[in-house]
Amino acid sequence: MNARVKHVELHADDDGLAPGEVMLKLDNVSLSFGGVKAISDISFDIRKGEIRAIIGPNGAGKTSMLNVINGFYHPQQGVITFRGKARSRMQPYEAAASGIARTFQNVALFKGMSTLDNIMSGRTLKMHKNFFWQVLNVGPARDEEIEHRLKVEEIIDFLEIQHIRKTPVGKLPYGLQKRVELGRALAMEPDLLLLDEPMAGMNLEEKEDMSRFILDVNNQMGTTIALIEHDMGVVMDISDRVVVLDYGRKIGDGTPDEVKNNQDVIDAYLGVSH
């Protein structure tokens, strides 16, 4: 880092909430597909500035939970309150516009595009000049592009992926693709970042790197993070609070230590003898 380039600060928008205030609240939310109850009667909240983990055995309803939060699924019952306002039926892009970004369990990048372009695509919602201006690539449109590129470069620097800036992401190893995907989500400068198994399929070193990045995002950009993760070591290390799901029900909620000593959680993970 040096003083030559204007240092651009990436940070979550100021939404008037103080750290620790409830940002997102779910009250008695239920979701079913036909006869299958994916989520039944779940309530919990996410506070500004925290790292909130959602854990649970396979099929517990974790990903459904994220999909509900970012408006991809619409719960049949219950109320979701985001920044103090009860949310009506919303589309994913509306969620994105309101400051919620996410990554996916299976990497969902544009495989043929470069790392740079993929992350740049995360800035789409922040572009104000219309298509024709951008095609002309002059004046204000050009300035805007430069401004966005600077933010994207900041992210590339942050995630230490300078060496793959121009590489098509399809060619990259899985661990790096995950990092690019995180980069794209960060490009939105979200208030709430949803990470669906950010460390699945990674080796120990990659997991450590990713943990570091998640902590840094939370710490430096002030982004609130909700993550689903299977690696208990990672979850217990980096999260502030953990909610545990099993068969669509909430069976535990609290700090990592509380959750670790919760008998229901232990039973769900280790099984109970009958």
Binding site: M1, N2, R4, V5, Q162
Partner: protein, 661 residues
């Protein structure tokens, strides 16, 4: 030494004096670049002077005084290079430390050098230093370049580089005299102060602090820069470890002496891309880097279309035949010239471009013997690759090859103003302008290394050939004898093995034993690619290394080496009788290699003792358990049953048989 300086009208004798001179004579010319946020940022010499001055005055305000040692830890970053000059301008002594050293190694060096301040690159280094802070009682303050992740650290004794510079800027703004005082102090120096303490990589035991004086360092740099006709128009890419004498000499010292432009890569992973973008005119790389380049070129050509492959092979053969002669300006038939010209347009030019070698005027390699084929490959492409032989104690150059008088098996004649003699035991000794004044805080070691009449003992065994070119055989103390009485030079054998692309590392044993036996490390890139092409699947290095096909391949290589050895009367008695392929790669983190990637034979012998026994007691396999350190610092154990194979030896050949015509 007489007092000279910029104002005195004489030649500069310190690097800060050169800084002032360059800021005047090359004020607007580029001095330093780094790629940041995807864009190359440039500082001119006058801007560089200002950056260094701000830092120096900031350090002065912090209380840095003449003679204080200041550690510099990190990769190649402009600010760390400025730290060298800023410290030197106050007559403080910079002590660079290898950035990938583990905390204990750093603690040893910092404590030994008695540093007061440390300027480090980032959070990683800050964490390392803080973890061993108790072992370095002298260290009071740490200054970091990159603030990332350090926001919540306690900043009582931790400072951002930018705030130190700001402090210097404010001090000089409120008191203009500070600036003139600073320049006056620089000009007043007679160059007799210690300019830097460079710690050796520690091939044998703990590293030693080599003290170099300013005037000697400057003189050495001027000599070699003139030798290679370097000017302010030259460009270099600084990518080698900052703490290594080669980087400090070739980039910093020569850079200041001629006023060239130094570029720093964006990150260690982007070096090859940055090389292409910058297109340096002067380049240094150890043989293993050239080896890696050749391997990657060859591997990529395997996947090329047939036409391209044919063109490549055809014109490479042309280059092999005539390329070096053309480079050296020796007579070549016209038809060959035309063919080479075509090849240059079609293959060599584009290839040089891909490697980032388009503008190279001078390239050097040193540190290890380079394979003749490898060496010729790059030269035949029109790259003026040469060899030098150097030492930290000499501030690099002892010998260097002249343009047009280059060969693969020697390291050239003595460099300008260097005297060399061979002692009775075969050891190379030298006196040179850049010669060190002693090891810091270690009179004993200094006496062991310097002869009473002022020559430095290199510890390398060498011979002069008929034209006065020096040939290094091995470390003097490693040259031994077998029980048969045959001369045994382990490195000579290891190097012959390592010239095969499939062999990454070799360790030979034999001193005081009945015959020579070797450990081999396969090269995972080359052999892995071979395995892929031959549909051989493997899960790990360990598994691949143990495959019978690999043993067959290695046996063929060992056999070839034995044939070569048989052809040399001196070496014929030391052919390889048995070998094995190690179950793990040799790593610096496990102490098996030095930080400059040289094998530590004694340590390896101790660590793999059961395997050595197996080599000499005739068994065909041996179980071994080895501790190892993972990249994250955790320790683990690796278990394996390693096979031992026999090799064919050949009768000594007195003279090479003539090819039957």
């Amino acid at each position: 030494m007489e007092a000279t300086g910029v104002t005195a009208g004489g030649k500069p004798v310190t690097f800060p004096q050169y800084l002032l001179l360059n800021a005047k004579r090359f004020a607007t010319r580029p001095a330093m670049r780094i790629k940041d946020y995807g864009i190359w940022q440039t500082w001119s010499w006058s801007e560089q002077r200002d950056e260094i001055r701000d830092l120096a005055l900031g350090l002065q305000a912090m209380g840095l005084e003449e003679g204080d040692r200041i550690a510099i830890v990190g990769s190649n970053r402009p600010r760390l290079y400025w730290a060298f000059c800023a410290a030197q301008s106050l007559k403080a002594i910079p002590v660079p430390v290898y950035a990938d050293s583990v905390a204990d190694e750093i603690a040893y060096v910092l404590n030994h050098a008695g540093v007061r301040f440390a300027i480090v690159q980032d959070q990683e280094q800050v964490d390392k230093l803080q973890s061993v802070a108790e072992d370095i009682p002298g260290l009071t303050d740490i200054i970091y370049d990159e603030p990332r992740g350090l926001r919540d650290y306690d900043h009582t004794h931790l400072h951002d580089f930018a705030t130190i510079q700001e402090k210097g800027r404010q001090a000089s703004a409120s008191n203009k005299a500070l600036v003139t005082d600073w320049e006056e102090r620089i000009r007043a120096s007679d160059g007799s102060e210690i300019s830097a303490i460079l710690y050796t990589s520690g091939t044998t035991g703990r590293s030693k602090g080599v003290m170099l004086t300013a005037a000697a360092s400057v003189k050495a740099a001027e000599d070699t820069a003139k030798f290679d006709h370097m000017t302010e128009n030259d460009e270099v890419l600084a990518y080698l470890p900052l703490a290594w004498v080669g980087d400090h000499y070739l980039n910093y010292a020569q850079g200041y002496a001629v006023g060239l432009c130094m570029s720093c890569p964006e990150s260690p992973e982007t070096v090859s891309q940055n090389l292409r973008e910058i297109g340096p005119t002067f380049y240094f790389a150890p043989p293993r880097v050239f080896e890696g380049l050749l391997t990657s070129v060859m591997i990529r050509m395997e996947d090329a279309s047939r036409i391209k492959k044919w063109l490549f092979d055809h014109y490479l053969a042309v280059a092999k035949k005539h390329g070096e002669r053309i480079l050296e300006g020796r007579p070549v038939p016209l038809s060959a010239r035309i063919s080479y010209w075509l090849g240059d347009k079609l293959i060599y030019g584009p290839l040089r471009n891909v490697l980032g070698f388009t503008r190279i005027r001078t390239a050097y390699t040193a540190g290890e013997a380079i394979g003749p084929d490898l060496f010729s490959f790059f030269r035949s492409l029109g790259i003026n690759l040469k060899q030098l032989y150097g030492q930290t104690e000499a501030f690099l150059y002892v010998t260097a090859q002249k343009d047009g008088d280059v060969r693969p098996d020697t390291v050239g004649p003595a460099a300008p103003d260097v005297e060399i003699r061979i002692a009775e035991n075969g050891e190379v000794q030298f006196r040179s302008p850049g010669m060190f004044t002693g090891y810091y805080g270690d009179e004993e070691k200094t006496k062991e290394t310097m002869t009473p009449d002022g020559w430095v003992m290199t510890g390398d065994a060498g011979i002069f050939d008929a034209e006065g070119h020096l040939k290094i055989i091995d470390r003097a103390k490693d040259v031994g004898k077998l029980t048969t009485g045959a001369l045994y030079a382990p490195k000579y054998i290891e190097n012959k093995l390592k010239f095969f692309p499939n062999i990454k590392e070799a360790v030979a044993f034999g001193n005081g034993r009945d015959f020579v036996a070797v450990f081999l490390n396969i090269d995972l890139t080359a052999v892995g690619n071979w395995a892929e092409r031959n549909n051989i699947s493997y899960g790990s290095y360990q598994e691949l290394a143990g495959l019978p096909q690999i043993y067959e391949m290695m046996a063929a290589h060992v056999d070839q080496v034995n044939r070569d050895l048989a052809a040399e009367p001196m070496m014929a008695g030391a052919q390889i009788k048995r070998f094995l392929v190690l179950h793990k790669e040799l790593e610096a983190d496990d102490g098996e290699l030095t930080r400059t990637q040289k094998v530590r034979r004694g340590f390896i012998a101790e660590r793999f003792e059961p395997l050595i026994e197996a080599l000499y007691n005739g068994s065909t396999e041996q179980f071994i358990e080895t501790d190892m350190t993972f990249e994250d610092g955790r320790k683990g154990v690796i278990r394996a049953t390693v096979k031992v194979a026999d090799a064919k030896t050949h009768p000594a050949v007195e003279t090479l048989p003539e090819a039957a015509e």
